[in-house]
Symmetry: C2
Subunit: 345 residues, 2 copies
Amino acid sequence: MAEESRPVPTKSRTATLTDVARLAEVSIATASKALNGRDQVKAETRARVIAAAEKLSFSPNALARGLLAGRTGSVGLLTSDLEGRFSIPVLMGTEDAFGAGRMSVFLCDARGDSIREQHHLQSLLSRRIDGLIVVGSRTDPRPSLGRNLPVPVVYAYAPSESPDDLSLVSDNVGAGRLAVEHLIACGRTRIAHITGDPAYKAAQDRAAGARATLEEAGLPMAGGQVLFGSWTEGWGRGATRMLLANTPEVDAIFCGSDQIARGVLDALREHGRDVPGDVAVVGFDNWEVLAANARPQLTSIDMNLEHLGRVAAQRLFAAIDGKTGSGIESMPCRLVPRESTTAQG
Amino acid sequence: MAEESRPVPTKSRTATLTDVARLAEVSIATASKALNGRDQVKAETRARVIAAAEKLSFSPNALARGLLAGRTGSVGLLTSDLEGRFSIPVLMGTEDAFGAGRMSVFLCDARGDSIREQHHLQSLLSRRIDGLIVVGSRTDPRPSLGRNLPVPVVYAYAPSESPDDLSLVSDNVGAGRLAVEHLIACGRTRIAHITGDPAYKAAQDRAAGARATLEEAGLPMAGGQVLFGSWTEGWGRGATRMLLANTPEVDAIFCGSDQIARGVLDALREHGRDVPGDVAVVGFDNWEVLAANARPQLTSIDMNLEHLGRVAAQRLFAAIDGKTGSGIESMPCRLVPRESTTAQG
DNA sequence: TTGTACGCGTTATCAC
DNA sequence: GTGATAACGCGTACAA
């Protein structure tokens, strides 16, 4: 259990440039130049100043500097939903990119509430961030924050509804194509698609890509149509049972998520179908915990979300430097082959 | 694809207090008082100032304010590993608590690298954060950042090695007790424990709690000893097979993680054991995606990590106000009952 | 090469 | 009630 501690020995106030200057016996102007690498200062003087700074463990006050410079070297990261597992990798990517660029990141979670979002936005603006990244939790377009913000904004994962904004998204249509092309390349011809809630644009996009690719190859959609449902293992199991009953000749299933795929694998095993011998399975999200631990290990589509976040950071950097862009920039996904599609049936 | 946009119409510089004062035809001193609710200003004047502020969509510069006040209203959140799923809930809790208190949160991910951690720490200090929360990804103690930082620090999830620091952790020993007590209450007497890597303190603590509770009840540890392995489904399956071979009379399994538990459920089903009829199963982490979608749904231990994060934020608030504490504060876990233990065999 | 002085945007203290 | 004015800590013209 925690105890109250004795009063801490008086913390010495953090050193200021004035302190350093005094110790080095120069003016604060000279101290500033010495520490910032300006070349109008004698080497010996600079050394003395640097030594003094070290000794006082001086660290320049970023607030004062920002006040003067008009730029703070900080950006906002406004997420609508930290819980959703899609925000996290995007967030990691941006944090990584900004950290490398000596930028600090303010994290705000609006929890899907637009009131809270506005509140956070005001707070960020009052802190004079240099730019803002808005991360959504679904691929459906979200309302724009507007064009008259004093800082550039980049939307990631969930695009802005306004084409005037710059948005970075995953190419879900392309991902659907990727999955079906892979299955066709594996020699499959009776390919079904089991996916989640049809109200999600992600579901529609992936299905569109899958449909288009099948049509171009002159192949039918096994099961007659895309099987929409929910993003759960339970739906994966249920849909598979229906599918096996109606279309027993199915030899491949493209799933809208790894969770669904886990349910599909489960049901296939129950019905004695070998994977990938009888039926090949492709998942979506490449969620390691699910995909890599499945039996057999699950081939899956990776949206490269961390990369998406990094690119978002780069675009924001560029925008801060005045090179603004607009429109929706679509990033390719990649297929990660594992056991559930490798062997040839 | 994104296109270059035409040069944006000149953004009007964000309004300052001077602008507001000029528009309201008062001095900046009066404007400041009016906006900050000081009571030495005529109502009519105040209204005029507020109107002017609205019109210019004035937002006070937090940098200037912080420079003067000596407090910035921002805190640092230093995580060692954003990828690990334990950091996220803690982080959500702290973000939530601080957001409500009008504090902004700087997010830094050190990626388990102490060099990067030092770098982030310096960056945060230069931004004059009011306090710092350090979130680890494992429950093993981590090196202290030291006692001579200019701001209070609270360690969450992973405690500091130094008892002089304040740390908040989950009570893993208590959680082990909780699980076994529940199984005993369900009428089980031949209880096994399959868990992860023995190098993790979490594994040792949970095992210790389980052992102690069994001893107190005069029950043996089924299987003869705790089955340590890795935090994977694969180990859950493998360990279960061994267990069923050596100790077929086992009637309950307490698992060190939900992933392990999923493997255990899998193997039990394969061997024709009914859950919970023949064998009851308890998981750990209460990871919804795994626990709630298991067949049967998995009873699991929840570490209340979001709450842990919120309490960490409260402790930091208190420390900022001068009420510092120290030592390790242990937060209770809770058992979430689901199908895998409810029915009586 | 070094030092002086101003200003970034606010708030608080004091006069008026 | 209101308005000058001095800080907060720093960078940078400009003067010395």
